[in-house]
Each structure stands twice: as structure tokens, then as C-alpha cells.
Symmetry: C3
Subunit: 322 residues, 3 copies
């Protein structure tokens, strides 16, 4: 009874916590540092400080920009928040150009970085909740829109990374956050679903309790990952179960195996599908070659193989901003 009260008080306290300025600053520092750790980012910071600044702003305010675009609200709106932009700009300057590289050297120390990352995770809860509430005020009863906006607001930096990279002259179309979700994007999606369900009363729990639980999980798990240095998602087992249950029907085998011939033999589209395979991008052709033929079971292995490769080749972008 007593503990319950304490927890409730704690939840209320957290819910009334203000992100500005300390948590926002932590968010800006961690975001700009993750930009600086992108391949080639330091070259860009020499070549064109303006492009580097714009990239940093996309890392810091990407979520607001993306959710703004999705709701047809001005994407420049974040710029109108003068204080925030000034803070982010100051931090961008110190991280990239500080004499002696003092700021980066300090914040790169594990203990401090651990604290800052934890504080950044706290802001995620507020962003997701903000997105869900904003969407709720526009589309009363549309769960999907709330989830989409909450997700975009919380994980915007990652979702628009293809275009953020384009600002720096990097273009990697073969990968994006939808094809290969990183941990921050996944956990944000889950949060958006939970808060949207709570908002629409389908999930009977008080908002400040959900905020407390979600925030604690975010911070605890982030710290675990940083300390153990593992990027293993805690949902891996669940994911794999869902994946195996829902998404391993036979069409894939059908493509590779004999089933297709039997069912697509007298299909006008076969010719097209073949000719188009012949014009498929080299990446796809490679995949087709690599894929073991026939049985649904081998089909599984094939797809899982492709998955792992993808994870390997993306190892570098695991620290992508979010």
C-alpha cells in the first residue's frame, strides 16, 4: 500500500518533469555525437560547416520535421523555437569545432555518456507521447495515425536518415529503417503503440504510470546495452516467433519451387515477371542466385541468411540517431 503510493507519487513527479533545459541538452549532445560518429561526418564538417549544421539539426529535430510533414504542418516550425535551435547550434559547434576537442573528449567518457544517453532516452517518452496527443487532436479515432505520428516524432532522425545522409553527400538506398529496423526505432514503435492504445482507452492504464514504466525500461535497457556493448534487442525471441508464425507461408517457396509453375503457368503476367527479373537490380539478382531452390524449409534459411548479411553490412549504422 505504502509502496504503491510512493510509485504513484513518483509517476506523477515524472509526468510533471520538464524536459527543458537539461534533458533537451542531453538529447542534443548525444544526437550530434552520433552524427559525428557517422562515416565521413568529420570530412563534411571541414568541407561545408553549413551542411554539417543542417545535418545536426535533422539529427536533433528530425522527429518534429517528419511528423510536421506527415500532418501537413510547416516543417520549418522547429526553427521558430529559437532557444532550442540556439542550444543545438551551440552544442553542434562545440562537438565539431571546440578547441582541444574538449566537449567530445569529456562526453565520450563512458560514465558521462551513460548519463547523457539515459537522459536522452527520457526525452523519447515525451516525444512519443507528444506525437500521439497531437495526432489524437486531429484524428480523434484513428489508432493508426496516432501510432504513425508518435513513431515519427520519437524516431524521426532514424526514419529520415536516407535524406539526412543526402545532405552530407552520402546515398545508401540499399538500406533504410524500414528494411532493417534498429533498436531505437523498434522500441519507439512499441511505445507509440502503447501510448496510442492508452489514449484510445483500449489499454486500461493511467498515462503517468505508463510513462514511468516505459521510461524506466528505456533507460535501463539502454544502459545495459551500453555497458555490455551488445546491440541485441530484448525482443529478438518474440520477434522471431512472430516472424516464423506469420511470415513464412509458401509464396517464397512458390517462387523458387515447382508450386509456382503449377499455379502461374497459364498466367499472362509470368512473361512480365520473368522479363522484369532480368532487369532487376544487381543486388536483387545476387539474392536470387544466392537463394537455395525449392522447399519452404530451405526458403526460411534463405531469408534468414539474407537477414544476417544485412545486419552485418549495417553494423556501422547501428548508432544511427533516433
Amino acid at each position: 500500500m505504502d509502496t504503491v503510493l510512493d510509485v504513484d507519487a513518483l509517476a506523477h513527479g515524472l509526468a510533471n518533469l520538464s524536459m527543458f533545459p537539461y534533458f533537451d541538452i542531453a538529447h542534443y549532445i548525444v544526437s550530434v555525437m552520433s552524427l559525428r560518429e557517422q562515416p565521413g561526418a568529420l570530412e563534411v564538417s571541414r568541407l561545408s560547416p553549413l551542411a554539417c549544421w543542417f545535418s545536426s539539426m535533422l539529427f536533433c529535430f528530425g522527429g518534429a520535421v517528419l511528423s510536421g510533414v506527415m500532418l501537413a504542418e510547416p516543417p520549418v516550425a522547429p526553427l521558430s523555437n529559437g532557444t532550442g535551435v540556439l542550444l543545438a547550434t551551440l552544442i553542434w559547434y562545440l562537438v565539431f569545432y571546440c578547441p582541444g576537442d574538449l566537449l567530445y573528449c569529456c562526453t565520450a567518457l563512458l560514465p558521462l555518456r551513460l548519463v547523457l544517453s539515459g537522459m536522452k532516452e527520457v526525452t523519447r517518452t515525451w516525444k512519443v507521447l507528444g506525437g500521439v496527443t497531437q495526432a489524437h487532436s486531429k484524428y480523434k479515432d484513428s489508432l493508426l495515425v496516432m501510432i504513425a505520428i508518435g513513431w515519427a516524432r520519437g524516431a524521426g532522425g532514424g526514419l529520415i536518415s536516407n535524406f539526412e545522409q543526402l545532405v552530407r553527400g552520402v546515398w545508401r538506398p540499399e538500406t533504410n529503417e524500414l528494411l532493417k529496423m534498429t533498436y531505437p526505432t523498434k522500441i519507439t514503435l512499441i511505445g507509440a503503440v502503447l501510448f496510442a492504445l492508452q489514449q484510445t482507452q483500449y489499454f486500461p492504464v493511467q498515462k503517468h504510470h505508463l510513462m514511468l514504466v516505459y521510461t524506466v525500461f528505456l533507460v535501463a535497457n539502454k544502459s545495459r546495452m551500453m555497458l555490455t556493448g551488445s546491440s541485441a534487442s530484448p525482443f529478438a525471441p518474440i520477434e522471431s516467433v512472430i516472424y516464423k508464425t506469420l511470415f513464412l507461408g509458401s509464396p517464397y517457396a512458390a517462387l523458387t519451387g515447382g508450386l509456382q509453375d503449377s499455379c502461374m503457368g497459364h498466367d499472362a503476367s509470368t512473361s512480365t515477371s520473368t522479363s522484369s527479373t532480368s532487369t532487376s537490380s544487381s543486388k536483387n539478382r545476387a539474392a536470387v542466385k544466392k537463394r537455395p531452390a525449392a522447399s519452404s524449409d530451405q526458403g526460411k534459411n534463405g531469408s534468414l541468411q539474407t537477414r544476417d548479411q544485412n545486419q552485418d553490412q549495417d553494423a556501422g549504422s547501428n548508432k544511427k540517431s533516433d
Copy 2:
């Protein structure tokens, strides 16, 4: 007299036809099937069901998203139409992951596919008309805007295909629907022009009559193309005449021949234009090499050659969603 009445009654009946649910379902099925027949789509459906789902939604609701962006209305709006998204999601799941691949095997049979494609074409009339009306309500007297929005609404999936492919990790900048229009995009553009002219009274015909004629043409021509397996556009002759009349002036020859020297000799921009040619993309350099030099007549052949090559290399994408 009697037939006239019948036709008029038929036109009225058609105009009052509801697209939901049967025609919408047919649209979703055909759209998702055309996604599945894109090169590499099945690999993506294994690698990341989420990216595959998002691509499917772009195939099904691309028109609404694009016209929304063009009119600065929320691109997430289609998500707020819960029933439509649920239907499309169900069909996406059955087409890609249905055990035994039943749905795809059935719908891939020519007769059924013929019916579904016909029904999908019917929805095109409604989409184009919807776009034109929506634009008319915002920009009373602007024919161009009505045409643009009607076209975008009716052929959105094709027009945004570059970005839809990006979701699947495919990037083919060398081709897009403007550089090489496919049949669905062309016929939708013509429809948008007709309905916009009708809306602004320049084209003195009753709306429901135009809807009947346009729909009948869409369905009849689509069926012809599927049965004969030819992707030949019925407008090819007209197009070629217009093209030869309007777009074969001499600048092209000027570039290759001596005319340019005579007229650009004392032009500050020559140096630039030369140096920029030297930095032109390999594709362009190839074209330049291949092109026969000099006279306007040969210039024609040159351009038509390029055209044909383009058609060949794009054969695979003829079934692109629309």
C-alpha cells in the same frame, strides 16, 4: 431514341455506383499483385514485412498520398480510413504470406485477373474525378491544377514509384514515369484533362456521360492489352505525329552540328556548356557518343533510337502499379 434513354440510364447508374467494397478490393488485389511481381519484392517480403506492407500501402493509396502532398493536406490521411487500410492489409497478407499461396494462385489465373483488372480500371475513373473535383473546390479557375491533381490521384502509385522503390532498398534514378510514361499514366493524364475540361465547362458534355465513355474505354482497352499480351498504346500513332510536329526543331541538330558553333561561338556560356558535358553522367556521355552527327534529319533518327532503347530497357517495369 430508346437506346439513348437506355444509355443515359446506364450512365446515371454507373455514376451512382459505389466503389466500396467490391471495386476497392479489386483495386487492392491487383495493386498488391503488381508489387509482388516487381523484381526482388518477394525477397523484401521475407527480409522486412514492414517495408513490404508500407510499399503495398503506397501501391494502394499512392494517389491519395501524392495529391495530399501537392495540396498540402496530411499525407497520413489515408491511414485514417480504417476500413480501407484494414482491407488492404488483409489482402497484402494473403497475397504475400497466405499458406499454400492460395490467393495469388487463384487471382493469377487469367479469367479472374481479367475481371479484377477491369474492376480496378473502373476505380480509376472515380479517383481522377475525385482529384479534379477536390482541386476545383480549392482553385476555382485553374485548369492546370485540376489536371495535375486529377492525374496525381489517378496515377499516384506510378508517379511516386522512385520513392516506393526506395522503401524496398531499390534505387533506379535513370527512369521515372515522366521520362518514360507507361500506358496507365498516359490514359490517366488524358482522363484528367477531359474531366478538368468538363468541370470548367470548356468541354460541353454531361459528367455522367463522360464517366461512362471513359470507363468503358479503360476497361475495354485494358482487357484487349491483357488478352493480346501487347503493351502497345492505342495513342502511339497520334503521339508520334504530335512528337514529330512539335518537338523536332533544330536545337538538337544545333548541338551536334555546325549551327551551334555559328550561334554559340561568341557566347560566354560555351565554355561552361562544354566543361559540363565533360562532367556528364556516363549514361549521357554514351548517348552523346552514339548520336549521329549533324543534320536535323539524322537528329531525328538519333532521338528515336534513344527512345526505343529506353523502351527495351524498361520493358520490365511496364506492369508498374498505377
Copy 3:
């Protein structure tokens, strides 16, 4: 005293000058000509007049489209200005397809081109001012938004060039106007800053005086550059001073030199940063190799080298629309 009056009268006269039709026409002619001088543009004009027309419209109305997107106003709005689009379309047709290539041959003559370019520069003042005013009406006290919108309106064609090229099937992600600003983009940014400061009273000068000075500078400098054929920016010295003062701190050296080891040695992110370097785009890897190791001083040379190369490889795109 008398001269002061004259200047004031002149400034008033200029401020009341109407851009339509003559200055707009000059803007359209110069813009479409700069498109025609892009590598491969003439091939596209043969391959697909529609893509060529769309590209031309982006060159002519790119600023309006971009600022529209940034303020969540319909990007199709420029199409609703019938007269402007008709004029631009007529000029597009004459520049690309005019029999005998008459228009291009005439306008390519240096004296005429000089006049037209001068008139085009005049329109820039009006566009920047229009953007700043529009932003001011929406975001009263946000200097940054005014600068952003004024810049976008005045230099839109250049800022969206990556996507304008995509319409023509060209994709050059390794360069954009932020990574390597061209002269028109720079001078427009300066203008946007000045007009925004004037609008917010921070810069105590009368609007029509600022318009006069800025316009005279634009025209005079553009003429100088065209006559001398030099693309040297008049701000080069100032830029280089600012650059050397602000943006040559030690992180770059830190990356190359021993400092990094000392400060990133016990940092969880080192591994990531290393592995990601290994997956960096070839361009970046090249840069990394080329870069001389260690001291901050050599770091400078390294970065300046990269700069020059960039300038060389982009020589072709210096005439990019603006």
C-alpha cells in the same frame, strides 16, 4: 542633399517597379537556358518533352515550390498562376524546339544575355523580400524562419537541384548546394539575412534603400562575372577568414592524430566508429586515405585540398539555375 533626394526617389521608383511581365520573362529565359546547358538536357528534351517541361518549371518556379513546402502551403500553387506558367511554357518551347533555334541563338549572344541576366538578378531581390515578408506574416518574431524562407524563395531552383535532376534521370548525390554553395546561393542567403534583419528592425535602414543597394550589387557583380568569365566570389576572402577562425578547431586533427586515442580510448563508441568507417562510401574512404595524418595545421591543408577538388569536379554545375 540634392543627390540624396535623387537616390531616395530612385529607390522609391525601384521599389514600385513591377516584375511582370518583362523581368519575369527575362527570369524564365535565363532559367530555361541554364537548364538547356545542363549536361544531357537536350537528350532529355528529345526523349521526353514532358520531363523537360517539368524540369523547366522547377527551374522557373523552384523557389515558390520549395518555400511552399517549407510553409506547408500547396506546392502546386505556382500552377494556379496561369499567365506565368503560360509564359514560362512558351519560352521553354522556344528555347528547346524553336525552328532554326532562333531564340537560343539570339539570347546566347553576350550583350543580350548580359541584359537578361541582369534583369533576372533584379527579380531575385523581389523573391527574397517576398519570402521574408511571407514568413514574417506567419512567424512574427522568428528570424531564422524568415531567413530560411527568403533563402528558399530566392535560390529554390539550386537548393532542390538534386530532385530536379532526378526528373531528368540524373542522380548526383555526392554534391548539393549545401555541401558546395554556388555564388547565386551564397548571395541569396546574404540577401535573406539582410532583409530579415531589416524586417525585424535589427538593421536600421529603410526597406527601399536596402532593395536599391542589394539590387545594384547583384546586377553589377553578375555583369562583372559574365564579362570577366570568372566565377570567383567577391566574398572569398571574408569566407576564408571566417572559416579559418571558426571551423579549424582540433577535432579533425583529433580524428587523424594521437589526441583521439587519448580521449576516445575508453569509449564504447570507438568500435562502432571504426567499423562504420570500414563501411563508409568509397568517396569517404578516398578522403580518409588522401588526408595527411596528424597536426591541426596539416589538417587545414587536407580540408582545403578536398575543397578545391570539389570545386573542380563541380565546375560543370556552376551555371546551375538559381
